[in-house]
């Protein structure tokens, strides 16, 4: 099962990252995504299909500094 932000996710498999982000309300300009330890380029969001073994970290930035 794919793991997203530390939690096992049974429904993400087979979806593109892009559609997962849309379904979960992420704003693409505010995030960085690591898949299995390396950053996923924004150009790959709509083509990368989530696999069963993937460990995905979606970092959602908030403002302030």
């Amino acid at each position: 099962m794919a793991k997203i932000n530390g939690k096992e996710n049974s429904t993400a498999k087979g979806k593109t990252i892009g559609s997962y982000l849309d379904e979960n309300g992420y704003k693409k300009t505010y995030i960085a995504i690591e898949v299995n330890g390396s950053i996923l380029s924004k150009t790959e969001y709509d083509s990368y299909i989530i696999n069963d073994e993937d460990i995905i970290e979606i970092v959602n930035f908030v403002g302030g500094g």
């Binding site: 300009t29 505010y30 995030i31 960085a32 690591e34 330890g37 390396s38 950053i39 380029s41 924004k42 970290e57 970092v59 959602n60 930035f61 908030v62 403002g63 302030g64 500094g65």
Partner: protein, 209 residues
């Protein structure tokens, strides 16, 4: 004060090995606001040998509530004002500075000589832009970022996290200015010190949080 006195004092405090490793290291700081001005001064006090300071902005009256600037700095470039602040506490540090806005187009070239870049921007989209640009475009850079430090909630939720070998992030991950929370010196400072400490640990070979 003689430079040799300063070096002896640092060496006495930190030990020769730590002193040597830090004096031979270089760190870039992108954004010199509440995070960056605090990170830069902490690393300078710790004895990091070279800092690269990057910010396009000038010091404004609204910066005084959390950034390391003084009333007399208002109107000065942040790069210039912070340079003076750092010089006042560390006489031997080398400082390079650029008054420029960091973009997707110039980030790789700008930071190419620095193994560690501290992301200290304030806008969420700029934070994401820098992380995405540096981590996809340069295999050698490690980024220490920050997200979530607004307001005056407990300081105990602000943590350092390791996302991957090249991507660390400090903050509580949720307290943003989008929620109407103001930025205040204590939590911004706590977050900045998490970043500075993470950088220090990386420079001294500690890769885990």
């Amino acid at each position: 004060m003689k430079n040799s006195d300063y070096i002896n004092a640092l060496t006495e405090r930190h030990g020769k090995d730590v002193y040597e490793r830090l004096i031979n290291s270089e760190v870039a700081i992108a954004g010199l606001g509440g995070l960056g001005s605090n990170v830069a001064l902490a690393l300078a006090r710790a004895g990091v040998g070279k800092l690269f300071l990057v910010d396009f902005d000038t010091v404004d009256i609204t910066n005084l509530n959390r950034q390391q600037y003084s009333i007399s700095d208002i109107g000065k470039a942040k790069t210039a004002a912070l340079y003076e602040k750092i010089r006042a506490v560390n006489p031997i540090i080398k400082i390079k500075r650029r008054k420029i806005k960091v973009t997707e187009k110039n980030a790789i070239e700008l930071f190419k000589d620095y193994p560690i870049v501290c992301e200290c921007f304030d806008k969420a989209e700029n934070k994401a832009m820098l992380i995405n640009t540096l981590l996809t475009g340069n295999r050698d850079i490690t980024v220490v970022s920050a997200s979530g430090m607004a307001g005056y909630g407990t300081g105990n939720t602000i943590l350092s996290r390791k996302i991957s070998d090249r991507f660390y992030i400090c903050g509580d991950m949720v307290s943003g200015i989008e929620k109407g929370l103001g930025l205040m010196a204590p939590r911004v400072g706590i977050c900045a010190m998490h970043q500075a400490n993470t950088v220090l640990r990386l420079l001294l070979g500690e890769k885990e949080i």
